[in-house]
């Protein structure tokens, strides 16, 4: 039995109907209040978009959820388990994944090696003194992921030589390693060409139904095409929550959003 299935057994899908529950989450940086009393829930299997002007606190919200910059107040519950004080790697091992707004890749390593690390990070054998072999499980999965994000042909290229769009794809591939249950996507479409955006939308809509994701996206078109529900943030607080149609037609949202930072 693989490690991944064991992980699923421990936290069975449907054990909680919510993938993510935030209760009064706050984050301060010194005197700056970047997040204030954020409470919201994301159902298992839901696809949620988060909108908001530059500096609204969207990335900070992701950092609080993953533990990169843990919240200074409030509680975070992941599939029924309180993860507020869990180390980052333990959240990841429970099926939480993220991509970064500014790609955080290993620039000197190849596409395959980046994916290999991502796969290995959520498997046993992280300390293995054995050399990775091209035919072992982790390497095979890394190659599958490379194909999944359309980088199969570039698997052996150093990441530094990839285009911006390809690096964004690789970020998503790394977030898909193992058995992701909730993926936080931080502006995956930023800087992509229209064709790449279409490809991204297709890929996100093609994800298996049991994978929940939350996507931060400045491009309303992309956001509304992939999400069931939209959360709008403003000044570190929740501003609106609704269906894509409701949000599209909301006057207040249009005011702050269009006045703020559409790219």
């Amino acid at each position: 039995m693989s490690h991944d299935t064991r992980q699923m057994d421990r936290h069975p899908i449907g054990g909680s109907s919510f993938a993510l529950e935030l209760a009064d989450v706050g984050r301060k940086f010194g005197s700056l209040v970047a997040l204030e009393d954020i409470s919201f829930s994301v159902r298992a299997g839901e696809r949620r978009a988060v909108l908001g002007a530059n500096g609204a606190g969207k990335t900070t919200l992701f950092n609080a959820i993953t533990g990169d910059f843990p919240p200074t107040s409030g509680r975070i519950v992941f599939f029924g388990e309180d993860i507020t004080h869990l180390a980052v790697h333990n959240r990841i091992r429970r099926g939480l994944r993220r991509t970064y707004q500014k790609s955080l890749l290993f620039g000197g390593l190849s596409v395959l090696d980046n994916l290999y690390l991502a796969v290995r990070g959520v498997m046993d054998g992280r300390f293995s003194p054995q050399r990775p072999r091209p035919d072992d499980i982790a390497s095979t999965r890394a190659r599958d992921l490379a194909r999944f994000v359309h980088l199969g042909e570039r698997a052996d290229m150093p990441v530094g030589d990839l285009s911006h769009g390809q690096q964004r794809q690789l970020e998503i591939g790394m977030a898909m390693a193992g058995a992701p249950r909730l993926i936080l996507l931080d502006e995956p479409a930023a800087g992509l060409s229209p064709a790449e955006r279409t490809q991204l939308v297709e890929m996100l809509n093609g994800l298996p139904g049991h994978i929940t994701f939350v996507i931060i996206e400045h491009d309303l078109d992309v956001a509304l095409k992939v999400s069931d529900k939209v959360t709008v943030m403003n000044n570190g607080q929740l501003f609106r929550e609704g269906t894509p149609d409701e949000i599209r037609n909301d006057q207040d949202v249009q005011a702050i959003y269009l006045g703020g930072g559409t790219r």
Binding site: R98, L104, G107, G108, L109, L117, P129, P132
Partner: protein, 328 residues
């Protein structure tokens, strides 16, 4: 994760030359140059794992080696008559275990820090341990230290014989080199390099970054312990002066001169250091050794920041960039 270079012609020729060296060399060359190079190389190899592959510059390698050396005297026999006289295998195992625990604890202490702070905290440990051994007479016999820690006779081979001692050190050096060369390409080693390049990202991939770093300290400590044991057998004595700030920095100098980018750098650096150490005296007076090694150090760092092996790589494989991943 690429092709192996363990069985390349260069490696085979080097191995043959090293194995044949006792046919040509006298006792001075075998021990003062040969064995000393291997010993420094083994200790510096641990630093290359830590610094080159893990991004953690530790100045405590020599302290860990020193604790292993002291353990040989304390649990074994010494001429001060203060040794416990345990059986040799038990003494060796105890020395390695104690030194590894010591080095691992140093790791636990310093993995919370990064960069310059790691250097400072490990330097503090090295300095503290130096003064402690100098002032503590109950365990470490203070300023005098211990003498008469004789290299043993193992399986009929008298290790006090320069030839056999040379081979002993060669065997340990070769074994350590092969082990580390293998390790840096293992899953553990690749992950360690990931930690070096971007610890936050590794954590967000599910790796327990601190555990990886501490494990690297533990492995480096085993190497330091082996080097420490061989050192007391070679010098037949140990005292605080062999684990002071000077020797602590020497190990860093050796690793940097050789180059942090590949395990072989440890031995190249050790050879250059040992040659300068022994022959600078012929060029200028003894007190100027630090000036000479300092000049060599400066020269190499200025002209090839990645040490002799970096220079070598550029000379023979133009276009091939260094092994370090750049992801910042």
């Amino acid at each position: 994760m690429k092709r192996t270079d363990l069985i390349s012609p260069a490696v085979i020729i080097t191995a043959l030359l090293l194995a044949a060296f006792p046919l040509l060399a006298n006792a001075f060359w075998l021990v003062q140059i040969g064995a000393q190079t291997f010993i420094y190389g083994i200790i510096a190899l641990g630093l290359i794992l830590l610094a080159g592959y893990g991004g953690m510059v530790s100045l405590a390698q020599m302290s860990v080696a020193g604790l292993a050396g002291y353990s040989m005297a304390i649990f074994g026999l010494n001429s001060a008559g203060l040794g416990l006289g345990w059986p040799l295998p038990v003494v060796i195992i105890t020395a390695i275990i104690l030194a590894t625990i010591f080095g691992t604890l140093i790791g636990v202490l310093s993995v919370r820090t990064e960069g310059i702070y790691t250097i400072m905290i490990t330097l503090a440990v090295a300095t503290g341990f130096f003064y402690f051994t100098r002032q503590n007479y109950a365990i470490f016999n203070g300023f005098t230290g211990f003498a008469g820690i004789k290299a043993p006779v193992i399986g009929g081979y008298d290790l006090r014989n320069p030839v056999w001692f040379y081979y002993l050190c060669l065997i340990f050096a070769a074994f350590s080199y092969l082990a580390i060369t293998h390790l840096v390409r293992s899953t553990f080693g690749v992950a360690l390099q990931g930690v070096r390049d971007n610890a936050r990202r590794m954590e967000a991939l599910g790796f327990h970054v601190k555990a990886h770093r501490i494990t690297a300290y533990a492995i480096a400590s085993v190497l330091a312990a082996i080097g420490g044991i061989l050192t007391v057998w070679m010098n037949d004595r140990i005292d605080p002066s062999s684990i002071g700030v000077g020797p602590a920095i020497d190990i860093l100098i050796i690793a940097v001169i050789g180059g942090l980018g590949h395990p072989v750098g440890a031995f190249i650096g050790a050879l250059i250091f040992t040659l300068v150490d022994n022959f600078a005296i012929d060029l200028i007076d003894r007190e100027r050794f630090n000036t000479v090694i300092g000049a060599v150090f400066l020269f190499i760092v200025l002209f090839s920041p990645d040490g002799v092996i970096g220079w070598w790589r550029r000379l023979f494989k133009p276009g091939s960039s260094s092994a370090r991943a750049s992801s910042q």
